[in-house]
Symmetry: C2
Subunit: 464 residues, 2 copies
């Protein structure tokens, strides 16, 4: 029995798969809140043309530039594992597989898009990219991508993370990035916050505003984004394309695929190619796709599918997505990468048409799953992918009850070497479960409608 399947680097995909032409219904457009009409807002001023083209492309297959593939080869193809010891511990007849993206130098799936974004910006003469980071995975990935293509990189890191997670900052600096605690005195947005509240701990919303302002006010500078946008999810499909080949080597095909969702990029990267199999009639099974979120940030399971801003400062256009409200304040849970108030528009479509199932777990359940995984498989997972792992374990336990020999695949999108504080809190009993209150969503939706009284009219025109 094989423990893992490794592919030769010649099998790094040559094309990304784009789901747009295969969506069950067309993607609703972004809305400019000024004109209330479709519009992409500031996007053309902060993204290169190649990225803007990919964002709306109806081409099913998009070639991966050879220079990007060559960088991918530093860690791709990533391994596909069979979790033999986990299966034994669960006494399940199910087969559990996981695709492991933690082998990339920054330690997660994020460089799959960071490298591509850095490349396209470099090709169009951009000298520098800005971005925001909270937990630090995305900032690390963009710093890495920029370094390899000779771009400068500026990361606005939420101040409280900057203080509490110095090692993620050091990693970005080791990759040559400049990292500022946000709010900073580098931007008008930051200075305004600091004038009002010199002790502001910062937020992702503020950091996004700073990163975008920095890009807007410098001719040679663009902005890089880590999730939600179509082109980001597109770049992540190397995960699923490789996983399909690896399952083929094993003569297997998944019955169920589980992954965590924050903005939705890792989950989409894995499932899109399997979804393509399904809609094109090539899939040998009616595979289920299970998206897993924290009960502390239940964007799909509790949020409303409507139009909302992508950022707290409302710099982005209105995005058609499930949302908890753009003024959502993340509770202090450890899955930093999953604390985003919205999700990718494509994923919202797939969830609304029931092509994707959704489930939410609290962080205690998730760390219990992570501990079982560590004690059987050895790899220490990040808290984020442990959500997908928890769903896979629950599915395997159901198989034990029903006797079904299902093939379960989940995405281990990053390692937990930078999350040891979270494990310390968990192991010493300091973690608490947290359920985001439904009333808070309702209040946020009321505030949103007060801001845009015409929201439901636009919603009914474009969504559903």
């Amino acid at each position: 029995m094989k423990t893992k399947v490794l592919l030769d680097e010649e099998e790094v995909p040559k094309q990304w798969y784009n789901i747009l032409p295969d969506l069950p219904k067309p993607l609703p457009p972004f809305i400019d809140p000024e004109t209330r009409a479709p519009g992409v807002g500031i996007a053309p001023r902060i993204f290169p043309k190649a990225i803007l083209a990919q964002e709306v492309s109806q081409e099913r297959w998009i070639s991966i530039p050879e220079e990007v593939r060559e960088v991918y080869m530093l860690w791709r193809p990533t391994p596909l594992y069979r979790a033999v010891r986990l299966e034994k511990a669960l006494k399940t007849p199910a087969k559990i597989y996981y695709k492991y993206e933690g082998v990339s130098p920054p330690g997660s799936h994020k460089p799959n898009t960071a490298v591509a974004q850095a490349y396209y910006n470099m090709k169009e003469g951009i000298q520098r990219l800005t971005t925001e980071t909270g937990a630090g995975q995305w900032g690390s990935a963009l710093a890495f991508g920029c370094m390899l293509f000779g771009l400068k990189c500026t990361v606005y890191m939420v101040k409280v993370s900057y203080m509490q997670k110095p090692y993620r900052r050091v990693m970005m600096e080791a990759y040559g990035a400049e990292v500022y605690p946000s709010p900073s005195d580098k931007t008008e947005a930051g200075r305004k916050i600091l004038r009002e509240n010199p002790d502001s701990p910062g937020s992702l919303g503020i950091a996004i505003s700073e990163a975008i302002e920095d890009a807007l006010t410098h001719e040679d500078t663009n902005y890089g984004i880590g999730s939600v946008f179509n082109h980001v999810l597109l770049h992540q499909t190397v995960i699923g394309l490789e996983a399909k080949k690896q399952m083929e080597v094993l003569g297997e095909y998944p019955d169920v695929i589980c992954g965590c969702i924050g903005g939705g990029s890792s989950f989409s990267g894995l499932i899109w190619p399997f979804y393509y199999d399904k809609v094109s009639g090539k899939a040998p099974k009616n595979t289920r796709f299970v998206a897993v979120e924290p009960t502390a940030c239940p964007s799909i399971t509790m949020g409303e599918y409507t139009y909302d801003h992508g950022d707290t400062a409302r710099l982005t256009p209105l995005v058609p997505m499930h949302t908890l409200g753009h003024d959502y304040i993340p509770p202090p849970i450890h899955a930093g990468g999953l604390r985003y108030h919205g999700i990718a528009p494509t994923l919202s479509v797939l969830a609304s048409t029931k092509h994707v199932e959704t489930v939410a777990y609290n962080q205690i359940e998730v760390f219990d799953a992570a501990r079982l995984f560590i004690r059987t498989e050895g790899i220490i997972p990040a808290p984020e992918p442990s959500h997908g792992l928890k769903a896979a374990i629950d599915e395997a336990i159901r198989c034990k009850e029903t006797g079904e020999e299902k093939v379960i695949l989940f995405l281990l999108c990053g390692h937990g070497y930078f999350d040891m504080q979270a494990y310390d809190d968990y192991l010493s009993g300091k973690l608490m479960p947290y359920e985001y209150p439904r009333e808070k969503v309702e209040e946020a939706m009321k505030r949103l409608r007060k801001l845009y009284p015409w929201l439901d009219e636009v919603k009914s025109r474009y969504i559903q």
Copy 2:
């Protein structure tokens, strides 16, 4: 051009290579300081029979138990990379390859032996292993190995590390180990120190004493060791055996192999199989083996080749090795794994017969090399393997001057995700170079001879 060579897991070696029958001269015996005659001291009371047999075996090939191979498959075979971007940055005609052991769950080469040791102890009915750890890599590896074979694991972690490196402690606890700051109140040795100095920061010497006493005083408990001993180096030869296959795939053979040495286990694991090629006449080249140590702990380049204890508390027998003196106090450098006063007896033989070259670098030079590697190859190396990397870079620069297209192989035995504090100190200019003073070695050797006035007599009988 291939970036890396991955082998299928069926190619995980089935046998370890044992250098003892092929050494250029016989290994001098351990000496019992009481009797002044050959003797292994407490070894039979803290190691299982299978390990004791391997320690002195004259069999060239020793079968790897299938259960151990199956665990190896969780991360083995490890990748062999060509450092294409590093070559370009150096503008060298040389080809630089590296074998990467950082992909193991604990993040270094250490589990290659930890897993084997845990297995043999489990087979002989042992319930628990004890060990010491300073920087934490070895403790993490043994905790991992014990977990997978159902053994309990107790780690005595040098108190100052326990306080300053909580994340390594958490990693061991996540693997289910109990970790005590040493000196602890769990042993007589620890209590004695605490009575004399309640604020003792601990030392590796004290931690070793505690771990050994714990094993000696519990029937069901043995001790696990991370380097120096023959059986440990033997277990590491999976590294070199895989590297040879991977070079074969590429149609290459190394002219030079570089690696760091603390006790010598990772370096020996890589070079032994190539050394075998040489002595058996199978090597197509007269490969050079370069062992690299810090100028702060120059065991071979400055130490004397004589008999000395392996631990500060003098619990071990006298070991034939290059030594800085068993009372060596490590200066505060960041390559925690290289701060050992002695080296493996086999390596001492190979160095004394010039089969292995040795060189020492200070930590600034080493971190400069690490930074260049990070900025070209992306992987953040631990400070320890960055010593071998520095030697590889220097060799590549010499090739640039001579125009030689040498094939250089170095061992990247662990990642640096747990060493970000060291990188922060380096990047912010806080690191200092340090050269261990020759007088300190001379003083230590005087103390040793005062302790054992008969030392030179025994030395001349068995060494050289």
